[in-house]
């Protein structure tokens, strides 16, 4: 199967519904593709109910209709729909996660029989108590769009919450520097100056780019 075409609307529904893809330049949740090849979607909600898992949807039932008729395969409007993989990494949360964590690393798994977009079945949380409904929010959108606070803002926020990410790869706590792939700290900071431990010096170039 290609990136921008499906055999029929049934396949499009199977591969897209219930997942997050990029529509009109921003992440969106697709909840249905109907028989007329219309994609029903909504933006990610501002917040999700932690207890029940229910999300507050906007009543924003926009539709995308395929541009041309008489095509053999159903080509969706590639200018508005982007089916390429969305980048993930550290997600900053508004409220404490289990065990008080405000930051969780999210990674995509190349799982078999997966759907095109991001959904609960093809992501892995660095925190074992990861729950999908917590991430189905604007916080996830910020990660996908690469919107993070600056290092100084992250340090301020880490003073209050314990930890805050300033890029999809790096986060700071009160005195330590973390990388999204490692549980242990990879360095430390003092007065806004970051330093990497000798074992993780190879991350220097990546850190310089993220700052």
């Amino acid at each position: 199967m290609g990136l921008k075409s499906f055999i029929d609307s049934g396949q499009a529904h199977a591969k897209l519904s219930g997942t997050i893809i990029k529509i009109k330049g921003k992440p969106a949740y697709v909840f249905n593709v109907d028989r007329e090849n219309k994609v029903h979607w909504c933006r990610l909600p501002d917040k999700a109910d932690v207890e029940s898992g229910a999300a507050e949807f906007d009543d924003n039932d926009e539709r995308i209709v395929r541009p041309g008729k008489g095509q053999r395969s159903n080509k969706f409007n590639s200018e508005t729909m982007d089916l390429s993989p969305l980048p993930l990494g550290y997600v900053n949360l508004n409220r404490p996660f289990q065990k008080g964590a405000y930051v969780v690393g999210v990674h995509r798994i190349p799982v078999r029989n997966a759907r095109v977009g991001i959904h609960s079945g093809n992501v892995l949380f660095s925190n074992k108590e990861g729950r999908w409904n917590l991430f189905f929010t604007k916080n996830m959108e910020d990660t996908m769009m690469g919107r993070y606070p600056s290092l100084m803002d992250a340090l301020d926020r880490a003073g209050k919450t314990g930890m805050c990410a300033f890029s999809r790869n790096f986060a700071v706590s009160n005195s330590k520097l973390y990388h999204v792939y490692y549980e242990e700290p990879v360095g430390s900071h003092m007065g806004g100056r970051l330093s990497l431990d000798p074992d993780f010096r190879y991350l220097g170039e990546l850190l310089a780019e993220d700052l």
Binding site: H107, A114, Y181
Partner: protein
């Protein structure tokens, strides 16, 4: 000494640089290939992810580089007259044998493949990049996250969980099922030359690991000292011309960024040494009396060539479901039920 991939996962032991190739083809006439041709060395099966007429050709068993190239040339030559279609649904997967490598060498091989992954992806069609069936380590970074944990803890989450990590561009999970590393990103090319170059490129990368006894971290250091483009050229030789010269440096840098996490993680040898070696599983039953290495010998005149088992298809070539063990027969007209004539009741014979 650390156990081999074969001993760790219980896969059959195959020695040396051996290959397996899967080629998907679509086209109205393609199904006739299996009926009219005896493509010695290849088996076929229906692939339901393709449109009607889609067939997957795959090797009977592992072959060396020379026989692999010969088989590819023959397949393209023999199937050309059936007018196959090269669509964005069809792909080619190449397996490289790692069953004889020790676990530390397996990780070295994974690392160097991660270094070259982004460069290799620049060779394939745009539709195959970021495709959900062959996600790169940059797109699906749980591969990197868990490879680091695997090396540190002596576990095999990535190389031991086939269904979870199968759709990576570099399918490391094939190690636990076939004792191979699988390259999934290449489309089915129109010309066999593209696939032959691809296989030779894979050969060069992996032979570099087999020929060198250095740990993977040294490859990263070597690449940073010599420069990524120079390192790529020293590994690939003339095959570096397959890629756009002005992109090699940047693409190698991106690959090295991913690979360095795995390369600089210390392998937990103690945990791996505690793993009890498994006896190799039996060779897959191909329903074929020919040994693997004789697969390319032409059958003698009149010799019966076993036909592959094919999934049920309807009259228009659409896939059909089986009802339990009973297969729906489409090629026979329905027969009206005719009651058997009852035996006439005979009077008991008089004694």
């Amino acid at each position: 000494m650390l156990p081999t991939v074969s001993q760790t996962f219980g896969v059959p032991l195959v020695k040396g640089p051996m290959y397996g190739v899967e080629v998907e083809l679509e086209g109205r006439n393609v199904p006739q290939v299996t009926k009219e041709l005896a493509l010695v060395g290849w088996l076929t099966k229906d692939d339901l992810s393709l449109k009607a007429g889609g067939i997957e050709f795959y090797f009977k068993g592992p072959q060396n580089l020379g026989l692999t190239e010969e088989a590819i040339r023959r397949l393209w030559k023999e199937t050309a007259k059936f007018e196959p279609m090269y669509t964005n649904r069809t792909a080619t997967h190449v397996h490289y044998n790692i069953s004889d490598l020790t676990i530390d060498k397996m990780y070295d091989l994974f690392t160097i493949n991660l270094m070259f992954e982004e460069l290799l992806l620049s060779y394939v069609d745009e539709e195959r990049r970021g495709n959900m069936f062959c996600l790169s380590a940059s797109d699906a970074d749980a591969v990197l996250y868990n490879l680091i944990k695997d090396k540190k803890d002596g576990t095999f989450k990535v190389s031991g969980m086939f269904d979870s990590y199968k759709y990576g561009n570099l399918n490391f999970a094939a190690a636990c099922k076939y004792g191979t590393i699988e390259y999934r990103s290449l489309q089915t090319p129109k010309h066999d030359r593209v696939l032959l170059d691809w296989v030779q490129c894979i050969h060069k990368i992996n032979e570099f690991v087999r020929d060198n006894n250095q740990p993977a971290a040294e490859y990263i250091r070597g690449a940073s000292i010599a420069g990524p483009a120079t390192f790529a050229k020293s590994v690939l030789g003339d095959h570096i011309k397959m890629f756009e010269a002005n992109l090699v440096k940047d693409l190698m840098m991106r690959g090295i960024r991913n690979a360095q996490h795995v390369a600089f993680t210390e392998l937990n040898r103690e945990a791996i040494l505690k793993i009890k070696p498994r006896p190799p599983r039996a060779q897959p039953n191909r329903n074929d009396p020919q040994p693997f290495m004789q697969a390319f010998i032409e059958p003698a005149p009149g010799q019966r060539v076993p036909q592959p088992v094919r999934a049920a298809r309807g009259p228009q070539g659409e896939p059909q479901m089986r009802r339990g063990n009973q297969r729906v027969m489409w090629d026979r007209p329905a027969q009206a039920w005719v009651p058997m004539p009852e035996d006439p009741i005979r009077p008991p014979e008089e004694e």
